[in-house]
Amino acid sequence: MLAYLIRRLLLMVVTLLGVSIAIFLLLRIVPGNIADILLDSAGMIDPAEKAKIVTDLGLDLPLPVQYWHWLSGLFHGDLGYSYVSEKPVIEEILPRIPITARLAGLALTFAICAGVPLGVISAVRQNTKLDYFLRILSLSGLSMPAFWLGLLILMACVKWFGSIPIYDRAPATFGAWLAMLAIPAASVGFRSSALIMRLTRSSMLEVLRQDFVRTAKSKGLSDTAVTYDHALRNAVLPVITTIGVETAFLFGGLIVTETVFNIPGVARFLVEAIRWRDYPMVQNLVMFIAIVVVTVNLIVDLLYMVVDPRIRLGA
């Protein structure tokens, strides 16, 4: 068990190192840099001014030197300075992480809380009207783009309630906070919940036909006990995998949702940073997202061991 954990942690480090090289190089392969954007924003054409900015920001240094500066800074907790805001990157990123974390957490909670039970119900009530309805609902969730759904929700809010959930850094009450984040979270979590629902349903249908389920039923166990204690426990493994993968995908959905609902989180900030070619900001944000995704995957692998004794014993 310990050896497995160490192996996984080492693999994490290698993965993150790979990500750091990839993002560093990819950013520099993309044409244009911050000097182009800065001069473009001032509507200026001046090669001398561009050269001055490039030198000031150290963009003319050899790539390995630039990479080393960044990496060694990371190890010392120095993420560098944003080219745009001219503030330490850490000051820009830190206040935004909780915003995105809360939104992602709520979205994931919504996706799991809605997706798993509805998937189970859909499987248990296979081919009933309820099953058809839930399948249509899940298909809708997979088909509707998050930005479109978000805008529809906003328009409905204005039409029916005369207000919209625009982000406020200091909402007056917990209720106001929840209302402000719940709608965007549901909007971004809807797709994930649909996916989880469909996967839970198909996995459950497969397990419900297994011999051990029939045995449990013949032992006289209640339907609830059979469904949740026996069937779901065995059907949940692929669902856990999906939840892990969806956590990574969630960031993609969050970019759209944070833009539509104007939430100043990490995801929207990343898009802007890429647009500005704000290398220090993008590099560190992508590294942060990579750490989150790799950590979630590690947690998922560890959950496998908790849920499935065969994996635990094998490890």
Binding site: P31, G32, N33, D36, I37, L38, L39, D40, S41, A42, G43, M44, I45, D46, P47, E49, K50, K52, I53, D56, S82, V84, S85, E86, K87, E92, L151, L154, M155, C157, V158, G162, S163, I164, I166, T259, V260, F261, N262, P264, R268, F269, E272, R275, R277
Partner: protein, 531 residues
Amino acid sequence: MSHKWIRLFAAGVCALLLATGGAQAQKQGGVLRITHRDNPPSASIHEEATISTDMPFMAVFNNLVMFDPAAKQNRLEAVVPELATSWKYSDDDRTLTFQLREGVKWHDGKPFTAADVKCTWDVVSGKVDGKMRKNPRKSWWFNIKDIVVDSPTQVTFHLNDPQPSFLVMLAGGFSPVYPCHVPAAQMRTHPIGTGPFRFVSFQQNESIKLERNPDYWKPGRPYLDGIEYTIIPNRSTAVLALEAGKFDMNITGELTPELVKDVLKAVPTMQCLVQPSNTEGNLLINRDRPPFDNPQIRKALALAIDRKAFSDILSHGVDNIGGAMLAPPEGIWGWSKAFMETVPGYGSDVEKSREEGRRIMRELGYGPDKPLTLKVTTRNIPDYRDAAVLLIDHIKNVYIQAELETLDSAVWYARLLKKDYAVGMNVQGTGIDDPDVMFFENYTCNSERNYTGYCNRYLEALFHKQSQMKDFAARQQLVWQIDRTLQEDGARPVVYQSQGGTCWWPAVKGLHLAVNSIYNHWRFDDVWLDR
């Protein structure tokens, strides 16, 4: 008492009532909430050329002089004192002396003096390296010979030549006085000014907050406790939030005429104004690259454009048609309708112009079976892209088959710099409706904003000539001729002059917008909230 005296007395009473009534009606307090379209590149007005910086940060500063906020048109006659209490030209019009307001303090408590004025214009005119990253309007101040601090409250600008527009340029929103003692880097992130509002915070991609300056030199102003800009890049979200009452107004000129209609339909009491933004769509033609090194092909290309169709399609006919200078009645220097009819490509008979274009192309060996193929390059932004698509359709009429090439902003700039394009569709704004600003900023050989590198020494001499003319009518005639030559020469053929909408809730009072620029009326010291 005669009727004349009765009428005069009554008028006086009415005026007094109106004046006192108006003063009583103004309420102190409240925070003005405005939607902002994108993240400003920095907070330093002198380093930027975008309304995204100009509008939110103009209230932090003062100019020496400014355009009267109550005047509808930004023009020389509307220039009023601000940090300068008065000014005087020498007899030869080459020396301009300003008396400065006493007792004015910067937001950090230090006193404002004439040295700050000298310091600011020494840097922006390029005489001194002020450590600014960018200086996009250096070309505006070509005429400054020297600036002399006569005393802490008097400063004199020595000019190479007389220049009536010099005062106009000083009055623009892009000409604030900066403090000498604050470094350029700080001005980009935490600006210090003398204006009615103090800088509080600038959260990237989130918000800009200003608070009332309690030590403002203008007694009783500003009325507002603060101004908050929330950055909402998604236009649909911004409009919905405005309609829902989450904001008091939108950033100026950002709404299309169609969106303004939608807003008014949703909230009939909303106050909206669609007006010229002094922003134009124009063509960047790479005259260094064949075949556009041939003036005949440039002419044929320009003759293919149906400007009315651009206006009809892009803005339901709201956009103006004109040359480089903003068209009347909002613009001061734009061509009259009769004059415009005489400019090639601007006549009402578009088919005739296109036939002329086709004739030129046929003479050069092109035709329906042998079209000229090229790429029309533009930024991947809706305003740019839509216009470029229309352009491609129009130039088919003169045997030019074009393909659309859209570029990310960073790449767009890099390509312009390398002159790696054939024809580019460009959109750009100008701070002040004035020929000196337009010509020197965009068309002089060494200007930082001369994207195409257009350089015509003969025209440049005319730029200087018109700049020195005091007689408005004579100067206007010369400006028209220069503008005509610029269009004929394909310097940067203007396709449309766009209009944009600004909406605000009725509770916002004292807001005055100019009809010929969106850049100069954002001091907000007269604005108050009735709620």
